[in-house]
Structure formats: structure tokens, C-alpha cells
Amino acid sequence: MYAASADGVLLHYRIDQQGIELAPREIPFEQPISQMQLLLGGNSLLVGLENGEVQQWMLVRTDTSEELTYIRNFHEALVSVENIETEQRRKGFAVADRQGGVTLYYSTSQRTLAHINTATARIYEMAWSARAEHLLAVDENEQLYFYHVDNEFPEVSWDVLWGKVWYEGYDEPDYIWQSSASTNEFEPKYSLVPLSFGTLKAAFYAMLFAIPVAILGAMFTAQFMAPKMRQTVKPSIEIMEALPTVILGFLAGLWLAPYVEAHLAGVFALLLLLPFAFILFAAMWMLVPNKSVFEGWEAALLIPVVLLMIWLATNISSPLEQLFFDGDMRKYMSNEWGLTYDQRNSLVVGLIMGFAVIPTIFSIAEDALFSVPQHLIRGSLALGASRWQTMMRVVIPAASPALFSAVMMGFGRAVGETMIVLMATGNTPLMDMSIFQGMRTLAANIAVEVPEAEVASTHYRILFLAALILFLFTFIFNTLAEVIRHRLRKRYSGL
């Protein structure tokens, strides 16, 4: 129960099964309190002061109990608040002041929507229509005022979309996306930050896996591989592009995610051990006589190594977890390092979405590396450089504009990818860089929510805004790629 005393002190009494607590918490105000009103849902208290300011207070959980806390204020009118009337279905409210002015505010977005002053006397009562389209006010001269209110999307502001907002029931201001709930008193939370973050996070982890495989693979295919093998390898890798991403998402969610969860230590061991296994195999290969026959076929020779390592990783996973992680890596991580493990996580998305963007990067990079003029390569080799030196010092710089745009194209593809992230991420709009947590991307969010959104509602329009932002993302990356490519091309155009 809340009470206000004449000298501007707010009293907060607790009432529970035992009865009323007689020692209230006292909150002094600098100005005398003229009005108090609960906002829709009963979670927030609006306090109107003599100087025209309205403050929003909420019960916020602390370590021991709940504390009435100042959230935000609204200070458009400058004369004493006489009446506060809240909307019936939203978190908006109208405030009438002593001189007959009426001000409309919206709590979540902290916006002042309108200020009107048609009455000349003090307004002592107001009423909203159900949809908040009409406002009725009566002043001291018994004059009735009927306002038609055209106020469709008050819950959106720059701060709501991109800033931290202190929502009802939360301990602190935060970036939250939660567009709908089952109750009418619900406060929609439209922060686009977690979605944008999720988009970039998914793309980042995908690129982490895709760039090394695609670029290194392209280097080998273009310059070192036997032409006969290249004829089959290039189309094989490019065929990945033809695989519908819904199949990849399906496999990621239903096959890879449980597999990774069951063999977590093995998966990490595989990622770490594979490069060493390749180099070890290469060192052992030196002992093989008559090896020049196989020159250009190294990739084929390494396929059994990859298969062997995958088999090995699957089998050493459980012993590894026994040895280092007390038998269960997931439990160990959450106990020792505080990392919670989500089955649908960034690792799974990174692997599968990386798989989806490899052909894009590979194809462009390979073409570029392959079309580096032969006279450059021959010249370099003739001057005594080794094949690797030629690759690093001559071929890569010459092809760098295209390599760069290949990576950017891959990134653009990863940002816009929908089905894989939709099916393999758990769609949790979190702000967390952890590789073991899911995310929700802009594209997946649109796919999930557009069928449910009320047409022309705020939610619906924000989804279109999300689509625009998605476009901006890809536009920025592509433009950046193009600009840098032009610069690099100019630099190497003399070759």
C-alpha cells in the first residue's frame, strides 16, 4: 500500500498474510506530492508532484527484499499535477495540470507525446476510452472536453530500439527483445540490439570456421593441386552451395547438435589436433620413396587422415572428459567456469553455417588465385623463390582484392542466412558472446514472428524495420568490400 503525506513523503506499507507492516518505508520528495496512480498491470507507481513532474517508481528486487526504486521521470508540464489517468491497454497515461493543460506521456519509451491546453480552469477528472482513441476531461467550471487522440505507436523511440531500458519486473536497465506475451498488461520489449548482436555473432563464428578452410583450400586447389584432381574437387565443393540450407539447418539441429553435445571434448580435440595431424603426416611422408608421383594429390592422401581423426575424436571424447573434466564436460564447465551449455549453440551454428558459406568464399578465392598471371609465378620461381614463397609473396598479394571480397561475400551470406540459424540456434535473444550459448538473428526473428504479428501493429512495423537493418548490414559489408577491393586493385594494377 502506498500513501503520501502533505510534506512530500511517500509511505510504502507492506501487506502480506500476517497483516500490515506498521513501520513503512519512507521516501522523501523535494516537492509536495499531489497525485499518485498505478500504471497498467499494477507494477509501477506514478507520482505526480507540485512542480508538474511525474515520476515512475517500481518495486525492484534487491538481495534481501524488494525496494521501491526511481525509474524515470516525465517533466513537460510546469504546473502542479492535478490528475493522472492511465490508458486501459498500454503503458501510456495522461496528466492534467492546474491550469487545464493535458499532457500525454508513454512510460516505456519515456516519451512526451503531446501537450494541449484548451481548458482554462483546473481539470479534476479524466477518462480514457478502451482503445485510448478518445480522452474525456472535465474542469472546475463543469465544462466537458472531448479529445480525439491519434496516438498509434507511442512505445517506440530511439532509446527503446537501441538503448538500455528499465522494464517492469527487471533488476536493471537492459537490452531485451520480447515482443509478445500472454497477458494484456504486458510491456512489449523491442530492443533490436540483441538481434543485431546475434546476427553478427552467428556470422562471426561461421566465418571463424569457414575462412581458414575456404581460403587455405582455395590456395591449394589453385596453385598446388594436380589439374586432374582440380577438375573434380572444384565442382564438388561448389555443389555444397546447391544444398538447400533448410537441410543443413535440419541436420544441424537434429543430428549435429546432439552429437556435439555428447562428444564435446572430442570436437574440441578434433579442431585442435587436425592441423597437427596434417603436419605430422607430411613429416612422415618425407620417408616415403618415389613420392613425386603423388605431387598435387596431397589433399586426396589426407582424406584418410581426416576420417581417422574424426573416428579418433569420437572415441577419445569420453576418456578425455573422464580425465580432465570429471566425466562430464558440460557439468564441469558450468561448475568451474560458470559457462552454461546450450545444446543449440554457436559452435553448432558456426560449423554448419561455416559449411554453407565455404563454397561462396572458396569459389571466388579459387578463381582469383588461379587467374594470377603465369609470368609472375614463373618469374618468381625462376629467381629462386620456393613454391610457398611464391604463393605468399606473389600470388596472394596479386589476388588479395578478390580474396577480400570473397570473405566479405561470405560474411554477407552468413548475415542473411535464415534457415540454419532458425533451426540450430534455439532462437534465444541473448547478449552473450559465449560459444556455448544460442542467439537470435534478425533474419530468424523475422521468420519466426512475422506470421504471428498483428498487421500494422507496432510489432509488425518493427519487424519491417529489422528487415531494413538486415539490408543495411549486408549493404555496408558489400560496399566496404567493394571500396577496399578497388583500392587494392589500384595498388596491384601495375602487375
Binding site: 578452410v213 541436420l251 596434417f278 569420453s318 572428459e321 562430464d328 620456393s386 610457398w388
Partner: protein, 263 residues
């Protein structure tokens, strides 16, 4: 020497080759995975008998193995063993009408042995999914059939007969009776059309009525035929023993075909 080898760049070339291998394994592995997962539905799986025994009781589970995994015992719920590894199998036991579910997890903690029973029968049914069990007798009109043939060929013969009758029934009901219904509907529309056009004379009405009666008697004849076929299809049934030893009766009319691991 190693240092020189690294300086020559050869290991890095091999590393590049490894990237290609990873990509190739990923592509073909994925295609292979999709194929294996998709195609396995077209081959019937082996039916195993898992024999369990501990101090108190013994039990046999007859089922197809779907998948198995080996886990540290302390991470597996619902078992007593806490040391070492436990292998658990997801098996398809079928018999949903008897057991309540088609699939179950079994653990190798009390597993004594497993084998492939020779005379197991897998029956694909129209309702309740697959049936797994042993054929014990063939019945006709509730009476056990005495026959010179083996039980199995007797059963197969009768199943063949049942499926032939089912096809006849399908033909009668879909095509023949269906076409009569179509003609009756046309007659009704014709009558309606005449009525709306005010051309429904007594003679026209009589003609329509006549045609309708002809169709009706045709229908009655077909109905007699189908009810006879229904009597025939319903006479065959079998008795079969399920894995816990109890016997059940299955109407052959309700089973579409039998599965393969029968020798």
C-alpha cells in the same frame, strides 16, 4: 633438418591440402549421411532378442535396434550401476497395443546375451503399428486349422488370400459403388434442373424414378457381394506369442503384410 623443412614451406602446403580434404570430407560425408539416414527406411532391420537376467528375474526383449550409445554410468539416470561405462540401446519393440509404446531404452547392465531368433514374425498392421512375436496357430472362424502344410506356409497362403479379397473390396467400394453414387447424384441434379426450368413433367419424373430404381437394385446386388467378401476376409485370424510369453489373437484382415526376417 626440421627447421629447414619448415622454412621450405612444405608443411604449410600440406596444411592447405588438409583444408581441401576437410571440405571434401564435409561435402561427401554430408551427402552420405543424408543418404544413409534416408535410405535406411527402405530396408527392414534385423530383429534381435535381448536376454536379460539378474538375481530375481529373467526377461527377454524382442526388438529392432535403432541406435546405441556408451556413456559413463554416473551420467545415466534410472540405473543402479555407478562405475564404468554403460551401453544403452534404443530399440523398437512395436506391439503398441500391448506395451503402450513402440520404442524403449534398454541398458546392458543385466544383459546376458543377444541373438537373432530364427522364427520371429514381424507383422505390419493396419492399426497399432508393427507386431513382433512368434506365430503359434492359424484359425478359421475361431477354429484352429488342421493342415498338411507347415504353419508358416498356411499363414502366408491365407494372408495372400486376405489381401486379394481386400483389393476386390476396394475395387467394389471405390469404383463400382462409387460410380452408382455418381449416377444417382447426376439424376438428382437433372431433376433439380428440370424443376427450376419448370419442365418437370410427370413423364420425365417417371423416367428419372425408373432409372433410380434400376441403379438401386444394382447397388443392392453389389452390397450383397461386399458383405459376402467381408465375411470371407474376416474368417482368418492367427494366434501369436509375444516376448513376455502371453498369446494374442490378431485378425488377418487388420494386418497388411508381414516383414522379412522370417526364414
Amino acid at each position: 633438418m626440421i627447421r629447414q623443412w619448415f622454412k621450405s614451406g612444405t608443411p604449410w602446403i600440406w596444411l592447405n591440402a588438409g583444408a581441401v580434404s576437410i571440405a571434401l570430407v564435409a561435402v561427401f560425408g554430408l551427402l552420405f549421411l543424408i543418404m544413409v539416414r534416408g535410405m535406411s527406411h527402405f530396408w527392414p532391420a534385423d530383429v534381435h532378442a535381448f536376454h536379460f537376467a539378474n538375481a530375481e528375474q529373467s526377461m527377454t526383449v524382442i526388438a529392432e535396434e535403432i541406435e546405441s550409445e556408451t556413456l559413463p554410468a554416473n551420467t545415466v539416470p534410472n540405473i543402479q550401476q555407478t562405475e564404468g561405462d554403460v551401453t544403452r540401446y534404443l530399440v523398437k519393440t512395436g506391439n503398441r497395443d500391448i506395451l503402450g509404446s513402440d520404442f524403449k531404452w534398454i541398458y546392458d547392465t543385466d544383459l546376458q546375451s543377444r541373438d537373432l531368433p530364427e522364427d520371429i514374425m514381424v507383422l505390419e498392421r493396419i492399426e497399432w503399428g508393427n507386431f513382433y512375436g512368434y506365430l503359434t496357430a492359424v484359425y478359421e472362424n475361431g477354429e484352429p486349422v488342421e493342415s498338411s502344410q507347415t504353419l508358416w506356409s498356411e499363414f502366408e497362403q491365407r494372408l495372400q488370400r486376405v489381401s486379394e479379397i481386400r483389393e476386390q473390396l476396394l475395387h467394389l467400394e471405390k469404383s463400382e459403388i462409387g460410380s452408382i453414387n455418381y449416377q444417382l447424384e447426376r439424376l438428382r441434379l437433372e431433376q433439380k434442373r428440370l424443376e427450376l426450368d419448370n419442365e418437370l413433367t410427370d413423364s420425365a419424373l417417371q423416367e428419372i424414378e425408373q432409372q433410380r430404381q434400376a441403379l438401386d437394385s444394382e447397388y443392392q446386388a453389389l452390397l450383397k457381394q461386399t458383405s459376402e467378401l467381408y465375411r470371407q476376409i474376416n474368417r482368418d485370424s492367427i494366434r501369436a506369442r509375444v516376448m513376455d510369453g502371453s498369446e494374442v489373437t490378431i485378425a488377418m484382415e487388420r494386418s497388411s503384410r508381414h516383414g522379412s526376417p522370417i526364414r
